[in-house]
Symmetry: C2
Subunit: 566 residues, 2 copies
């Protein structure tokens, strides 16, 4: 298997160079580089092969009284490094050995002479390119930095073992997500990022605006060319009066047509000038306001207030109610002033939406999806998962194995509350029917009581969103949360209210006005279907998989109050 993979990858790599297109002579020839994963996967079967390798030096040490150096080089294709052996007559060794140095080299693969831990190393014959590093200035020395410090270097931290592993795991989880939904006939839908709808009817939303830059432009324009004063406008109006009088006089004097035409033309010009001045006299610096003192959002780009989406669900429903099975996978936003290790202002969500599906179907889909992700990681990320076990969380692989093979427990919210009340455990938040379960309750259920993933369903309607389907008991809605060890809630979903009258009433009961939801009601007016869906917080899934503690370390460029680096 590993060898198949390696040889396929090698073929693919070589294909880059051998493409049949014409290559004009003024173009530098293409680079053929073999990935370190390909080499390490193939091991000593590649001994004797001449290859080009590029990457960054993790550690370098001179040996043999400075006659040669060993460089541990990583190219991001895998966690493992390739050992390079460079003789001093090939390249000045001091320029190669600093951590962070980039090298593109050609050499011959060989079995290390002594039985070292490496199965294969590269004897370098030619150093093609080097990107040097001043060790004193480089922010990422060989010694291990903690993850918090690394957050100040988001542009470099992908060069570290941990963040590199996270990037590969994140990639595999994203790819597995697309594979799962494609295999199951879902269509990937790009729901809008800029939206004029508020899915939760409550969320703290970022506003998207061009008003500031428009104001800046006006200000600049006024500085170069100040707005006319009232006196300027009055003066221009006097000119119009004068030109008008002139026309009248010419007409009264029965002047020739040419003269009158010329005078009328001047009058028209003078009138245009007044219009222009009046228009410019209204230019004001600053944000435009309406007469009642409120901000004139109808002057903004979209002629109304527009926001960053908090969820693609409502829009995804329009496609599910036309094409059956769809999913979104995109960024979502919350302008919450939250400084916890579990919240980001910008994060990614996966949101499937399924027509002709009830809550039971929804749970089945969620369970299959999560299990698919776990199995995928075990299969495609074993090296990086082992790294996590060794350096971050020793139960990380066990957890994936448990979740991928164990059917999820399914209990109603009412039952969950009974269970929690029946334990001796003292919770910080008191448990009683009607509360929103806190993280401590969720983790207790999945980690202590059931020791496996738990799906809690049929929540009190008072704590859930208006669009969730009202159950016959009139007290609960067809909602479900998937709880998993380590992170608690991983997925939240529901059957959507498909009955026009009930939905309308739920919107009103939530204190919302109907107008912004008319399009959403249309889905229930015209060919309504039962449908269900859920949302998985993608970064939560990565926390679950890796065992890392802080969500800021599992997204490449974390955004939170006060920070939006790069």
């Amino acid at each position: 298997m590993a060898d198949d993979l390696a040889s396929a990858a090698l073929t693919a790599q070589l294909a880059v160079a051998s493409i049949s297109s014409p290559s004009p002579s003024d173009l530098e020839p293409p680079t053929t580089r073999t990935s370190i994963r390909t080499i390490l996967d193939a091991g000593d079967s590649l001994a004797g092969q001449r290859v080009v390798v590029g990457g960054w030096v993790k550690t370098g040490r001179q040996q043999g009284k400075g006659d040669f150096a060993f460089l541990e080089v990583n190219d991001g294709s895998c966690q493992g490094n390739l050992q390079l052996k460079v003789e001093k007559n090939v390249h000045p060794l001091a320029r190669l050995k600093n951590t962070g140095t980039s090298v593109l080299v050609e050499g011959v693969l060989q079995k290390p002479p002594v039985e070292a831990k490496q199965r294969i190393e590269l004897e370098v014959k030619l150093v093609i390119e080097v990107g040097e590093v001043d060790a004193a200035a480089y922010p990422l020395p060989k010694t291990k930095l903690n993850l918090e410090t690394l957050r100040d270097f988001v542009h470099l931290r992908a060069r570290t073992n941990t963040i590199g592993a996270v990037a590969r795991i994140r990639h595999q989880l994203a790819y597995a997500t697309h594979s799962f939904f494609n295999e199951n006939d879902f269509l990937y839908i790009h729901t809008p990022i800029i939206t004029t709808s508020d899915c939760e009817g409550a969320g703290e939303m970022f506003q998207v605006t061009a008003l500031f830059s428009q104001a800046e432009k006006v200000e600049k324009e006024l500085k170069e060319n100040p707005a006319p004063s009232e006196a300027d406008v009055e003066a221009a109006k006097l000119v119009v009066k004068g030109k008008g009088d002139a026309v009248a006089q010419l007409k009264a004097a029965k002047a020739n047509k040419q003269e009158i035409t010329a005078a009328v033309s001047e009058l028209t010009k003078a009138k245009d000038n007044v219009l222009r001045l009046e228009e410019r006299s209204k230019l004001k610096s600053g944000i435009p306001h309406k007469d009642d003192g409120t901000i004139a959002f109808d002057d903004d780009f979209f002629k109304r207030q527009a926001f960053l989406t908090v969820s693609g669900q409502l829009q995804a429903e329009t496609y599910a109610c036309a094409l059956g099975k769809v999913y979104t996978f995109g960024p979502t936003f919350r302008a919450e002033n939250s400084h916890t290790s579990r919240h980001l202002a910008e994060f990614w969500m996966v949101e499937p939406e399924i027509a002709f599906a009830n809550l039971h179907d929804d749970m089945n889909c969620a369970e299959r999806y999560v299990q698919y992700l776990c199995k995928w990681l075990l299969k495609h990320c074993s090296e990086d998962m082992e790294f996590m076990v060794k350096h971050v969380d020793k139960t990380a692989i066990e957890r994936l194995e448990l979740v991928s093979t164990t059917p999820f427990e399914r209990i109603s919210y009412t039952k969950a509350v009974e269970i929690l009340k029946g334990t001796d455990k003292k919770f910080e938040n008191k448990v009683e029917w009607g509360i929103d379960l806190a993280s401590e309750h969720e983790r207790y259920l999945t980690e202590i009581i059931f020791k496996k993933p738990v799906i809690v369903y049929n929540y009190p309607k008072g704590i859930k969103a208006f669009y969730m389907r009202l159950n016959d008991d009139q007290k609960t809605v067809a909602a479900m949360d998937v709880l998993v060890p380590k992170v608690g809630e991983l997925i939240g979903g529901s059957q959507r209210e498909e009955r026009f009258g009930v939905l309308k009433q739920r919107i009103l009961d939530a204190g919302l006005s109907l107008e912004p939801y008319e399009w959403y009601l249309d889905l229930r007016r015209f060919g309504s279907v039962k449908h269900s869906g859920f949302g998985l917080g993608f970064e939560r899934m990565i926390l679950f998989a890796t065992g890392l503690e802080n969500i800021r370390d599992v997204i490449p460029f974390p955004r939170y109050p006060g920070r939006a680096d790069l």
Copy 2:
């Protein structure tokens, strides 16, 4: 092949129901639905099978003097409809036949009695659910609406044949994109949507802010609880003075400790009250301003101005310069007041970035990627592509075949200008060395001169971005555009400037300040590598594939000046 696919899909569909999890008795049983694609692909081999089908009625007609009805039903899984035959004793036919009605039915598949165009139809035995439609109110009647009108119904238009086909083609192009890059060992990186960097150093960017909602909150708070006046603050200060005097008197009178402690406590409370009042007296409604009259963006969520990204390239470079080969696929934004059929305020871009790669490698990657997409569509979207040929652009399939099999022509910008100048064609925009090629020039090159895709490379530095690598001639940069028939520029890319000194000078020459680009310069300070990348406008690719004219029809929820529906 088609049968394999069908049986695999059928198995997958059935698996949804047979999952081994416990099913609590208070849950409605799951729905087992067979997709219409599965049925149509399998054709009459499924005759006699009992299945559940759900979808929306495209057309319905009563026949046999009203004894039965034929419903053409579509469920979005494919372009084709399944014909349902319903007897009037199964369900009132008038409630089923209107266009847009949703039905979930159970029935038996059978070969149509007469040899009709259908190979298979469903004899309905049970109507499980119906979502009715009032034909008079339904905005999408059976008659064909033009695409422009449909844009006023973005929440319903996915139910039309054209927009449904676009959704499936878009899905396949997205899935093919992930497949291509995954097969070639690229990591999918989520570059930030909210950014404090400006990739192009010029673009019109949307600003992301919480200042308006913060101001609204303050305003509401002040309405409920007005800010204290100066007099209120003075009065509170007097109280402090009184309490202070009292403490002093008690101390002077050597009162007991308890009395003094009580008095000090009252003094502290009074002081806290003054602080609170002073703080609140500063509350002002409206957007916060600094003393110099400019807006106080350091009071905003990220403590500085933040924008929506125009490209993930610069951030993707940080990952490429650590992990080798990466790509982004995400939304990008332009606040341009552009009303053309080729521009959107929100659109999706695919941006690979490759370390140890020069412009030649970049072209090879772009050519292979575009050809992969074309081949993928021919293989996976033949039915929808045939629909496009029939209804939108009769050359759509030919174009995909041409591009997927023909090596792309590669010519330098200088050569392209020579060719254009040498033709008899009168262009609206005059051609001379140094101009940015206009769409008319690009399309002339690819459609008339070469009749195949063309890669133009080595553009004048004056018309390209600062980050593109300066060629040895000092006049051109290592940029390349891929031009294709129908849309002109599909891809723009370049080798990035990897030399620290040259890049620094280019930033300064572009009139930008260095400070915001220090992190970008760091990539050249520490272990710099040659690297290249490009961007493909995803909606442009869909226009190219489908032959549709307006970009607003190939994204589910188009955003442009004045419009951000839903």
